[in-house]
């Protein structure tokens, strides 16, 4: 696993445990707005930027799809690829809402990822700081916020 980096230090412990226990190859923790909070397994800011934007969009789409189909939003998704699988879910820590996306292969399983993700959620709940949750951003601020969080993870680009 590539070194873990976080914007908010309090998520480092739970995120590290999740990565190791569930044997994830890579993962990103972010706010639903697309702002990155922590990552592991990535060495390029551009990759994390793409993943944050896509995860944020997929989350919004899947929630609406769930509402349309079942009257309530989907909060967890799993895609089983040939070699690698993607797990995507939301988690709450008090009033803070996060999204997590992780990649795993045959060294793990969906069942393993689900049980350690549940433990990750509990850990976040216990460690959450007493701060105001990040409010949704106006549409025009998305890119600026994303770049700011990526600078925190990988250092300023150029």
């Amino acid at each position: 696993m590539t070194d873990l980096s976080v914007v908010e230090p309090w998520v480092a412990g739970p995120l590290k445990n999740l990565a190791e226990d569930a044997r994830l190859i890579s993962g990103v923790l972010l706010y639903p707005s697309g702002r990155a909070v922590g990552q592991f397994g990535f060495s390029k800011a551009a990759d994390v930027m793409s993943i944050c934007a896509l995860t944020s969009a997929i989350n919004a789409s899947s929630r609406e799809l769930g509402r349309q189909l079942y009257g309530k939003p989907f909060y967890e998704m799993h895609h089983a690829g040939g070699d690698r699988q993607v797990f995507m879910a939301r988690c709450m820590a008090g009033a803070h809402e996060f999204l997590f996306v992780g990649v795993f292969d045959r060294e793990s399983s969906l069942g393993m990822v689900e049980i350690y993700f549940a433990e990750f959620q509990k850990a976040l709940e216990q460690l959450q700081p007493d701060t105001e949750p990040v409010k949704p951003l106006p549409a025009g601020d998305f890119e600026r916020e994303l770049n700011r969080s990526l600078d925190s993870l990988f250092g300023p680009i150029g």
Binding site: S109, G111, I115
Partner: protein, 121 residues
């Protein structure tokens, strides 16, 4: 004749000493079918989902070890712990998992699990 997962679980859960019987996906570790929790284990939190995922994972690693040692596919796996046993039998795409009390007749449990796998295929 193929036996339905619900029937496999029902049969195994009636074996004396079996506290939980589950049919679990071998690849994803998710529960396909499970019995209720019997005996003292019923008093605590429900850990069937954890047990299923970890037992399936452990069985996959044991299979790799067995193949690496050129012993072929493991037919029966038993994990002996302080307060009981976890027994696992693989059947292609699923694994049968039982949580068994220390007082159980393990020979009977093993026989019935192996029979359930034969009936499934």
């Amino acid at each position: 004749m193929r036996t339905a997962p619900a029937d496999v679980v029902a049969t195994l859960s009636h074996v004396p000493g079996v506290a939980v019987a589950m049919v679990v996906g071998a690849a994803d570790g998710l529960i396909v079918e499970t019995s209720g929790v019997k005996g003292g284990a019923a008093a605590g939190p429900d850990t069937r989902k954890h047990t299923a995922a970890l037992a399936a994972y452990l069985y996959s690693k044991v299979s790799r070890a067995s193949h690496a040692a050129r012993l072929g596919t493991p037919s029966f796996m038993r994990l002996e712990a302080e307060r009981g046993n976890i027994c696992v039998v693989g059947a292609e795409d699923i694994v049968l998992v039982t949580i068994v009390t220390p007082e159980a007749n393990l020979g009977r449990v093993r026989l019935d699990m192996m029979q359930a796998v034969r009936d499934k295929s």
